[in-house]
Amino acid sequence: MESTIKSPQENEDHTWRVRLLKIWRRNGPGYLFLLPWLIGFFGLTLGPAIASFYLSFTNYDLLEPARWTGLSNYKFAFFNDARLHKSLSVTFTYVMWSVPLRLSVALALAMVLDRSVRGVSFYRATFYLPSLLGASVAVSVLWRQIFGSEGLVNYLLLLTTGITGPSWVTHPDYALSTLIVLAVWQFGSPMIIFLAGLRQIPQDLYEASSMDGAGSLRQFYRITLPLLAPVIFFNLVLQTIEAFKTFTQAFIVSGGTGGPVDSTMFYSLYMYLEAFANFRMGYASALAWILMVIIGIFTSIAFLTSKYWVYYEDERR
């Protein structure tokens, strides 16, 4: 348009520029909007993840440069680290007890609330409150006192039965149970999700089945459970992952030691201590990747088996 005659060189230059402009028009705004996330993704997620994978094969204490040690971190973790094995068993025990208990209580109360019309929002809010506050240090502090040797539980025990209870939080046999109780106490958020799921179940299914003479137990097994299965599945996966990540509660209740005798040495707490108390950054990175694999296995087991027990309404056979 501007010039009448162009040298081939100039022409090529021109089309090249036009093409660049076109690429920019098509992609520029999108990438500009995406820029903060891209920086964060490469700088704070992907980069660190790769670095952590590399570090897991080294010894690194922040002061001297990382020293490549091959598989020795993993070998130590698998075969020699008794404390890690203890920590794994503590964490698995916690997950195996706290997740099913929490979900059962959540489901039971969601079903009760689903039936009663009046005051649902009040009860829902009250039951949810502990979930909301439960992650705070304040509640963990409270727990430590409630289950302490002169705590509320022992006071009630003495009052009702005359038994002098032990100091639950500092007794190796009971300390973990107090944390499981704390987790079950926070059943509020899965309960809310169950409530939302129960609302989706068509009421006429219940009416029709009760006309056919089905009792409420039968209705629970034949209607509620199968139709709620996707929601239960969703809760199960998420709660399991969250339980593996538990840190604050164990840290505060045990005073940051994972004690007594490592009985509350949760995996996350052990990794924290290795990294930031003992400055074994390489070993801590190996621990992070082992956890990643464990969580991955649990998630994929849940996903792979889901087709045998999860019923999605839209895939009627």
């Binding site: 992609n27 705004p29 999108g30 990438y31 909007f33 995406l34 903060p36 996330w37 964060g40 993704f41 997620t45 992907l46 660190p48 993840a49 952590s52 570090l55 922040l62 009760v112 609330l113 039936r115 009663s116 005051g119 009860y123 809010a125 009250t126 039951f127 409150l129 506050l133 992650a135 705070s136 240090v137 304040a138 509640v139 502090v141 409270l142 727990w143 430590r144 705590g151 509320l152 006071y155 009630l156 106490w185 958020s189 999700i193 969703f234 998420l238 593996f244 990540k245 840190f247 840290f251 505060i252 005073g255 990794m271 990294a275 930031f276 990175s285 621990l287 992070a288 956890l291 969580i295």
Partner: protein
Amino acid sequence: MKTTRKSFPWGQFTRHALLILASLLMIYPLLWMMSSAFKLDSQIFSSMGLLPTEFNLDNFIDGWSALRVDFAVFYINSFVIAFLSVLGNLMACSLTAYAFTRLEFRFKKFWFALMLGTLMLPYHVTLVPQYILFSQLGWVNTILPLVVPKFLAVDAFFIFLMVQFFRGIPREIDEAATLDGCGPWRIYWRIMLPLSTPILATAAIFSFIWSYDDFLGPLIYLNDMQGWTVPLALRAFVDASGGESLYGELFAMSTLSLVPVFIVFLAFQNLIIRGVALGALKR
């Protein structure tokens, strides 16, 4: 619909009685802590009642300045970090979500899949290298490691939440705006954000609560007591109180620390519960 008889609804009655009992059991520990905050130490464990005989504010006054630094400083630190976290999450995550739902660019699907992938990544994997990075930048003992990631949309959960919401906004609206000559920025700022207040509010609430409650982050990055947040101060209080003589003060400060979250809960109950139902659980 289930009972059509006119007789006294015993079923409803017992159900409500049980529910009220269960509610009381659930919040009893919290109420007990609250009332203990007003009691003398000698009274705390000698009664399980909830009503203190007198409202004694000594625990609050003594607890407030029991550590070398006043709790006022801890609250300011906590609020500054929480406020900046909310701001960062809202800005960065909404920009990202807008790009993923409304703009066209190459490799969009690829980036979106990666973003969803980061939802599954446990924080453990990035914890150590992030610490090394921030300490080499000289950011340890500042609030930057706790705040800057929020401005880079590292919390993919909020992106996910906003993407879901933006998809529900009819495309005709921004197509009309494009015809009127609006660029993507104007559409984002003048149309998408104002239409998304419910989800922005939900994201703001959860991001406030999580940031205010966060313990691990401050524990790692904030060493100097002047820079501590409220949870760190409480933890130091536990260690300091060792014996039982400071229970009252500890309870007073713990109770106080729950107040901001509790106020947010009272004010935005419905948004929070809807947010949880959307999958905003995490805990």
